[in-house]
Amino acid sequence: MHPILKLVAQRLALSILLLLAASVLIFVGTTILPGDVAQSILGQAATPESLANLRKELGMDQPATTRYFNWLFGALQGDLGTALTNGRDIVESLGGRLKNTLFLAFWAAVVAVPLAIFLGLLAVRYRERWPDKLISAVTLASISIPEFLIGYLLMYFVGVKLGWAPTVSTIYDSMSLGEKLSAIALPVTVLTMVVLAHMMRMTRAAILNVMQSAYIETAELKGLTSFQVIARHAFPNAIAPVVNVVMLNLAYLVVGVVVVEVVFVYPGMGQYLVDHVAKRDVPVVQACGLIFAAVYIGLNMVADIVSILANPRLRHPK
């Protein structure tokens, strides 16, 4: 087998292993810790009988390992159990919300990724000059500002004072794409701002790293134009680090979605998760946790695989 295929296969296997381990962690975090699910659902006033009944209903009388494997095999077959609070099938409730969350994240990525790469290049082009300094100041501010501040600032000024966009982002299946996009304009803007700075700064660092290589000097000393130097010599070597940056930030975006959904009352998975954490609805929390972890691990895996594929030493072994 070509060594590169082997490496990719290894990375895939590692991700699956990691996801399995994460599922164990999530399960352990919600069941074996001292907190008692039944107690927390029924509250302090619960009678011992009702507690015992609920425990049995939840399958708590079985050993934890059995419950874990039941849960895991269920999850593998697309069955994530039923919600405690309303008895509904979790997969059914999640489906639409996951779609909504991905819709939001997708449009945020569509705006943020090209913008960040463009601005990152700009920062490299005008290194140590004002565009670069501005970008690092914005980055400093943006890692210090909570997502909900950006959200409410936009909601207050753009939504309420100017009335340019809806302050609450409700979407239905029956809406047209245009209506949906208009509804999510503000949350997309917030998410873009949240990841933009990071992505810009990391893109800048990645490209700068390549631009400082000796082979860039060689190219310059061949008399190539700046554009040729970048396109022919910097770009092929910058793909991997930049894709890496993008993937890491998309993973970050998926988490940022949670807060933004709550701010704009957006019917996505983050909102759903937060609601059910407050209600201590463990099966829902486990299901959402697993899905978020899977997306996160998946994006990180893609980043690594791209790095492997783009490495000439691995692609053309001796």
Binding site: A214, L221, G223, L224
Partner: protein
């Protein structure tokens, strides 16, 4: 033809530096250097680090690396003044009229592109040749430069060929567009000495055959003497002396030049071995953890009290690994280390404090061998405290004595390593080793990172200290000139084995084994015509075989 192809007049170069935590400031690197170069001639630029030689080389392409800026003077190439011209014209100059060969070909080739593509890129871009012509020329150059499989080597990626081969590819890259001037910037410095000679000859022949002019930049006078018609000696951004190669090598005028010429000529009369070696390495075989091949095979050598054993070899020969085995950092698979009549435990944990004290070590990179957060006083004082329990005034007195021994004043006690020069750092490391009153000091390439004159000073210091303290050195080096200057006996290592071993006089006297012969004959000598002689001899030998 005596057309002045390159003319540099009163060239001044500065740079803006950004010291961490301080305001950026401007410094001068080159203060007004002038020279001329005719077509087909080679000018060697020589000097220690910081002399400004690379900067001058790049200035002939009107290029400043990093924050470097040309602040004054004029440079003419082919009769055109280039410092004032715009970038567009400069780009026509670079890559066609003037090209560049850097020290590290490995870093200078784009790892994502095939070699051939990169070699012909400038010619195509400048419209000098068609793709077909350029490729044919590249293959021709590959052949001329002695690269294996010249037809196909260009289809490989840079990491798929060896360092010496890549350096020759870099030369091909520079020669491919038929330039009028090539700037060679330390092109053989990163190579092993036996590889260097081939690359050097390849470069020399390529220059002769193509008739280009060249600036040959190096810190090694013996190397530059082989390829240059003229030599210019630089120091701290000033010209010291400029003359023909013959004049500089054989009749240097300036004192600094004389020092440079004589630097490698120090000779040391080898002492005969004694009956009781202080350190014996016996049949050591070793491998690194997690690997399945031995890096040392049956290594045996002896070190006698108050003497120096030089362990010499190229990269990968196992000389540094031998040191790691002796110090206990790498327990051997087989074999023993005897020290002063007793067996040493094979791993570090098993050794007594006395064992550790009597065997000290000095490193190649003095700046990472000292804790940057400790003062010189702390660094030298710690062994005193640790081994002898010295405190207060007694310790201080001894620190001052040690500073005196390494020819440094008491004012250095409170300084941090970052405030010292390279040579001073290495001296402090020597003092730290001496503080333990050891019987043996392992010196691992201790002079390789230093400029020749500074290195010479360190060697002389080590020799004096040996007489005073009666300490034995296990001296690991790749540099045969150093070996001649300091060794009593020599072990030549190659691919993890000792291939030749004995008192210096015997090891350096014929008949030689093949490897030692190759190694010895590859060391550049400070005289004209040495390179041709060696190559001629080798050709005759291989013809005779």
């Amino acid at each position: 033809m005596s057309e002045k192809f390159l003319k540099v007049e009163d060239l001044k170069i500065g740079a803006r530096i950004y010291p961490p935590g301080e305001k950026p400031r401007n410094i001068d690197i080159v203060h007004g250097v002038s020279f001329e170069l005719e077509k087909g001639k080679v000018l060697g630029l020589i000097g220690e680090s910081g002399a400004g030689k690379s900067t001058i080389g790049l200035a002939s392409m009107a290029y400043g690396r990093g924050g470097v800026e040309i602040t004054g003077g004029k440079v003419w190439v082919n009769g055109r003044e280039i410092l004032g011209t715009n970038l567009k014209d400069l780009r026509k100059l670079r890559g066609t009229e003037v090209t560049y060969v850097s020290q590290s070909a490995a870093a200078s080739f784009n790892p994502a592109k095939k070699i051939l593509e990169q070699v012909i890129e400038a010619s195509l871009h400048q419209g000098k040749f068609s793709k077909k012509e350029a490729e044919a020329r590249a293959v021709e150059l590959f052949t001329k430069l002695g690269l294996p499989d010249p037809e196909n080597i260009g289809d490989r990626y840079p990491h798929q060929v060896s360092g010496g081969q890549l350096q020759r590819c870099m030369t091909a890259l520079a020669l491919c567009p038929e330039p009028d001037l090539v700037v060679f910037d330390e092109p053989t410095t990163a190579l092993d000495v036996t590889t260097q000679i081939d690359v050097l000859m390849a470069i020399k022949e390529a220059i002769r055959d193509t008739g280009v002019a060249a600036l040959y930049i190096t810190h090694d006078l013996a190397v530059v003497a082989q390829v240059s018609d003229e030599i210019m000696v630089l120091r701290m951004g000033d010209m010291v002396e400029h003359g023909t190669t013959d004049q500089i090598i054989n009749h240097p005028v300036e004192e600094y030049t004389r020092d440079l010429v004589s630097v490698r000529s120090t000779q040391h009369d080898g002492k005969p071995p004694t009956d009781n070696p202080v350190l014996t390495v016996e049949n050591v075989t070793a491998r690194y953890k997690g690997t399945n091949f031995d890096v040392l095979h049956n290594v045996t050598m002896e070190l006698h009290p108050g003497q120096t054993l030089a362990v010499v070899g190229e990269s990968g020969s196992g000389k540094s690994t031998t040191a790691r085995v002796i110090t206990g950092l790498l327990p051997p698979r087989e074999g023993k280390i005897h020290f002063d009549g007793r067996d040493l435990s094979s791993d570090l944990e098993g050794r007594s404090r006395e064992d550790l004290r009597e065997l000290q070590m000095i490193y190649q990179m003095a700046d990472v061998a000292m804790n940057p957060r400790q003062t010189v006083g702390t660094i030298i004082g710690r062994p005193l405290e640790f081994y002898f329990g010295m405190r207060g005034a007694e310790k201080k007195k001894r620190i001052l004595e040690l500073l005196e021994e390494i020819e440094m004043g008491p004012e250095f006690m409170d300084r941090y390593p970052a405030e010292l020069s390279g040579g001073q750092k290495q001296r402090v490391c020597i003092a730290r080793a001496l503080a333990a009153k050891p019987k043996v000091i392992i010196c691992d390439e201790v002079t390789s990172a230093l400029d020749p004159l500074v290195a010479d000073g360190i060697l002389k210091l080590l020799e004096n200290l040996q007489k005073i303290e009666n300490v034995a050195y296990l001296f690991i080096t790749h540099d045969l000139a150093t070996v001649k200057a300091i060794a009593d006996s020599i072990a030549v290592m190659y691919q993890g084995r000792v291939v030749r071993y004995g008192p210096k006089a015997d090891v350096l006297a014929p008949p030689f084994d093949d490897y030692t012969d190759l190694l010895l004959s590859s060391v550049p000598e400070m005289r004209l015509g040495w390179l041709e002689e060696v190559v001629q001899n080798r050709k005759m030998e291989s013809a005779g075989n």
